[in-house]
């Protein structure tokens, strides 16, 4: 019996002690008409060897590709130590650290994580993670509406270069509470500052800004922040935390800094893994801490006055506050935070910055190469590690042709940004070698030569 340790003798003795004849009797309280003999259509059990082989076959079928897709999830090299340590049983198989004395490992690690995230974002307080970047963004919007009591508005202004799926997820979550996201138009790949100025008179609980934006470009975050604060709005920063080793941290935006930062933690040592598990991070200024969703770890002392760590401010949370909690989140993305904390420790500030800078350089190299090809042009000159290129024909068939050659050429923008034409978002992280970048160039040339301009 896989995973079940009982011997026949055990079962007999246990049933006798309980005072029943069979294990079936233990289920008597389930109304007879609801009981079934077993689930239908479940394939027979496999041994570990069989399931491993099956998985291997399936995975092998997916083929070996070189990816130039970013769009919110980024391929970075992950040092071997990261997951060797994170998957140690003591981290991997522990629960949320409710019993603090039996969970100092996890608790101290989260405290260290919080310290790293506050430093990266330049804000005061971090929680212990949310599900992912998109849901963290939704939580940040909810939090801003709760926090901005002065405004009382249930509307949030959003830069148009915010990740379209983040906007969609926030909408799924916010709409139920009647909170509205209002999109600002994009001009030149970034927020149309004129359109923003035109909103000055209107009441919004917050302005949310993604930096770099979904289109890879850099927003004028100082201006946007100062203008928002002047209008009584909070500022929500959505940032790739890895790039914050090189980019101005939200806490330093404008005169007084953004109020809440959040985003996708995946670039910090988490494998792409078809989209998850990743983790959403969130930090904020001290004054907002009681509006923060999710777990928070604090440092305190034990009865012998030794330092120790514990979950704190639990009165914000669902298991205490129930229907009045700041969020319904319970299980978060702890293991991913474990990995990210190890990753950041291994890389340090210098290492992260080198990676960010290399991503930028690689993307520049790629874009230079691609835009030298007939029928390809660069849309926005300034970008960090993703850039929009435009083709002289529809993107989808080109991507398909590239994919048949083992190259995933980027993210097709036509669904979410049809106004940009045949636009393609490309990304070359530090994980892409010079040869791979050159190969993309060569393949693109070949594909464009072979396919027709529509």
């Amino acid at each position: 019996m896989p995973f079940i340790p009982h011997t026949e003798e055990d079962v007999a003795a246990m049933l006798e002690l309980i005072g029943v004849k069979t294990t079936d009797e233990l289920f008597q309280e389930i109304p007879a008409n609801l009981r079934i003999a077993g689930p239908d259509g479940i394939p027979a059990g496999l041994t570990e060897a069989e399931v491993s082989q099956l998985a291997q076959q399936r995975a092998a079928g997916d083929g070996d590709v070189v990816s130039f897709i970013g769009a919110g999830a980024y391929e970075h090299y992950i040092p071997a130590a990261v997951w060797d340590l994170a998957t140690r049983g003591e981290f991997y198989s522990a629960y949320t650290p409710y019993q603090a004395e039996a969970s100092q490992g996890t608790l101290q690690l989260i405290y260290e994580y919080q310290s790293m995230m506050t430093s990266l974002t330049g804000l005061d307080v971090s929680n212990a993670s949310l599900y992912d970047g998109a849901s963290a963004y939704a939580e940040a919007c909810l939090m801003a509406v709760r926090a901005n009591r002065k405004s009382g508005s249930r509307r949030i202004l959003t830069t148009g270069a915010m990740h379209p799926v983040y906007r969609a997820v926030a909408n799924t979550i916010l709409s139920n509470q009647g909170i509205e996201l209002v999109d600002l138009p994009v001009a030149g790949g970034v927020t149309d500052l004129g359109a923003l100025a035109a909103m000055d008179g209107e009441d919004f609980a917050a302005v949310s800004v993604q930096q770099p934006g979904f289109l890879g470009t850099l927003e004028a975050v100082d201006d946007i922040t100062d203008r928002a604060h002047a209008a009584g709005r909070l500022v929500i920063a959505v940032c790739n935390p890895l790039l914050l080793a090189a980019l101005k941290p939200p806490g330093s935006w404008g005169e007084s800094g953004a109020d809440i930062a959040c985003g996708e933690g995946q670039p910090l040592g988490i494998p792409l893994s078809s989209g998850g598990p990743y983790f959403g991070y969130m930090t904020c200024s001290k004054s907002l801490v009681r509006q923060m969703p999710g777990r928070i770890v604090g440092r305190t002392v034990d009865v012998e006055d030794r330092p120790g760590f514990t979950l704190t401010l639990q009165a914000r949370e669902q298991h205490i506050r129930r229907s009045k909690a700041t969020s319904n989140i319970c299980t978060n993305q702890g293991l991913m935070v474990t990995a990210a904390t190890i990753y950041m420790s291994l890389l340090g500030s210098e290492g992260l910055r080198r990676i960010a800078a290399r991503c930028h350089a690689n993307t520049r190299q790629l874009v230079t190469l691609l835009s030298g090809i007939d029928g390809v042009s660069l849309l926005y000159d300034s970008y960090f590690h993703e850039a929009v290129i435009c083709l002289d024909r529809p993107v989808a068939p080109v991507l398909e042709a590239l994919s048949r050659r083992g190259i995933l050429g980027g993210y097709d923008l036509s669904e979410h940004y049809p106004e940009l034409g045949n636009a393609l978002l490309v990304c070359a992280t530090e994980a892409r070698s010079a040869q791979e970048i050159a190969a993309y160039g060569a393949c693109m040339q070949e594909v464009l030569a072979k396919t027709q301009v529509a």
Binding site: P2, F3, P5, H6, A13, L17, T23, L26, P31, I36, G38, I42, G45, L46, V51, A55, G72, A73, Y77, L85, R88, F91, Y92, S93, Y95, A100, E101, A102, Q104, T106, Q108, Y111, S119, D132, V169, N171, N176, D222, L244, G275, F279, T300, T310, L313, Q318, S323, N328, C330, T331, Q333, G334, T341, S345, L346, G348, S349, E350, G351, L352, R354
Partner: protein, 486 residues
């Protein structure tokens, strides 16, 4: 020995360049005002220091891999290592979420199979894998219930009924969905109070959220009546699947009349808890809620596996995650389910229930008070220490800490709140009878010590890396991040 903070090992100028590109590429082409002036303060430590620090930290944890962990409601069963191995296989781990379907047929095939297996064990018409934990599954569920009512023009249905024993996420979710929470009491026998239920049902009722077996560790015997009442009133039923382990393969929430359900794969299907997460809160829906299910869902078209999105599901409540949810966790659950097969699933509920009933019986024999002594335990049960507390002054938390000193993680304490001084105990099917017996011995030993020397119990824990922590100070003198200038 107390492990310092990683920052305390840090020295300026220490570099770990084997993990980063060898040289710093230029960023000079970017405008200075978007760049960072001062580098963030991250530890500057060597790889050995990192390995040593986190290895030592890990050793300060209790975990399933080191201790019996009978934390009620959390299903701390063995997490097979092979599940992790498969999910971390390079081909799976390196797949970009926006990779084309033709380069993801293997992965999508697994996901499709997972959906099918989950349908089979829940009796629901469709499953969406996207919610990233139970609470997000609940959100999806209540949002679907609302969407359904709204689609029917029932704009006034905003009340969600929740038993007082419910997990905190249930009422919190209802609020997050813009609903109003109506609490109903649990009867002394552990079942829902039907009179109370009847009295709150009405045209304002959006639905009810139930955990079955419930959080008090018993199967709700009147579930069919409840379903009929709620449906008659025009409401829908939400099944909180946190306790599915107890009835896996033996009863289907779909048969009980539930319209929508979430399953915590990190409980019943043994994906790791990871010190807090990640989980997966996949949702299943009946036919009538199918149009509203969150996207993406994996479908099958002409022998190809494809993503079904807003295009195919225009009425969907939408997306809950940037991509498809916790894919790697879903893969782990797929491995586990494929290994178990139908028979293995039946054994899960069989032995989880056997262990719980055995442990309850042994503790009762030893003089402990079960909260529902007349009922069969499901996969968990409640012991109330209220008499011992009254007699000795040793409280449930003291008991919990004393268990730590004896090498056992504590059961869930003080939840559900309706039972005073309660321990919610869930042994799971992967523990041996010998381990359960040792736990009973420890409980007896602590009780005896409480009777003879209560102060000694109150000193616990003594063997953990720290002793009892000052939670009040933690909340009053907030210290939430290390900083250099301290």
């Amino acid at each position: 020995m107390k492990e310092p903070l990683i920052f305390e090992y840090s020295r300026p100028g220490r570099r770990a360049p084997s993990h980063a590109p060898g040289a710093m590429a230029s960023l000079d082409d970017l405008p200075a005002e978007v760049l960072r002036a001062d580098p963030p303060v991250l530890p500057e430590v060597s790889e050995l220091q990192v390995v040593r620090h986190f290895t030592r930290l890990s050793q300060q944890n209790f975990s399933i891999d080191t201790h019996f962990y009978p934390l009620g409601s959390c299903t701390m069963k063995y997490n097979p290592r092979v599940c992790n191995r498969v999910a971390m296989m390079p081909a799976f781990a390196n797949r970009h979420p926006y990779g084309p379907e033709e380069h993801g047929q293997g992965f999508l095939h697994c996901m499709f199979e997972l959906q099918e297996m989950l349908k089979a064990v829940t009796g629901m018409a469709e499953v969406s894998l996207t919610p990233m934990a139970g609470a997000q599954g609940e959100f999806a569920g209540v949002a679907m219930i609302r969407a359904y009512h709204l689609a029917n023009g029932d704009t006034q249905r905003r009340q969600i009924i929740v038993p007082d024993a419910a997990h905190g996420t249930n009422p919190a979710t209802a609020t997050m969905c813009g609903c109003e929470v109506v609490e109903i009491p649990t009867r002394a026998d552990g079942d829902v109070d039907l009179e109370a239920l009847r009295s709150v049902l009405g045209p304002q009722t959006a639905g009810i959220m139930l955990t079955n077996p419930s959080t008090v560790g018993v199967f709700e015997r009147n579930i069919e009546t409840i379903a009929a009442l709620v449906h008659e009133a025009g409401g829908l039923l939400y099944y909180d699947g946190a306790n599915l382990n107890a009835i896996l393969g033996r009863a289907l929430p779909g048969d009980m009349g539930f319209d929508v359900i979430h399953i915590n794969l990190h409980k019943t299907f043994s994906t790791p808890h990871g010190g807090g997460g990640p989980g997966s809160g996949v949702v299943g829906v009946s036919q009538r809620l199918q149009p509203y299910a969150p996207v993406p869902v994996v479908g099958r078209k002409n022998d190809q596996y494809v993503w079904l999105t807003e295009k195919e599901r225009p009425q969907t409540i939408g997306r809950l995650s940037a991509f498809m949810g916790n894919a790697g966790i879903l893969l782990r659950a797929w491995v586990y389910m494929r290994m178990l097969g139908a028979e293995g699933m039946l054994r899960v509920s069989e032995y989880a229930t056997l262990n719980a009933n055995y442990l309850m019986a042994r503790l009762m024999q030893a003089g402990f008070q079960a909260a529902y002594p007349e009922r069969r335990a499901s996969h968990e049960f409640i012991i109330s220490l209220k008499d011992i507390v009254r007699q000795t002054g040793v409280n449930t938390m003291d008991f919990a800490k004393a268990l730590l000193d004896r090498g056992f993680h504590a059961p869930t304490t003080y939840f559900p709140t309706l039972v005073p001084e309660c321990l919610l105990i869930e042994p799971t099917e992967t523990e041996t009878r010998q381990e359960l017996d040792a736990f009973v011995d420890a409980m007896i030993e602590i009780r005896d010590l409480a009777l003879s020397d209560p102060q000694e119990v109150k000193r616990a824990p003594l063997s953990t890396p720290v002793r009892r922590l000052d939670d009040v100070r933690a909340a009053r003198q907030l210290d939430l991040a290390w900083s250099e200038n301290r």
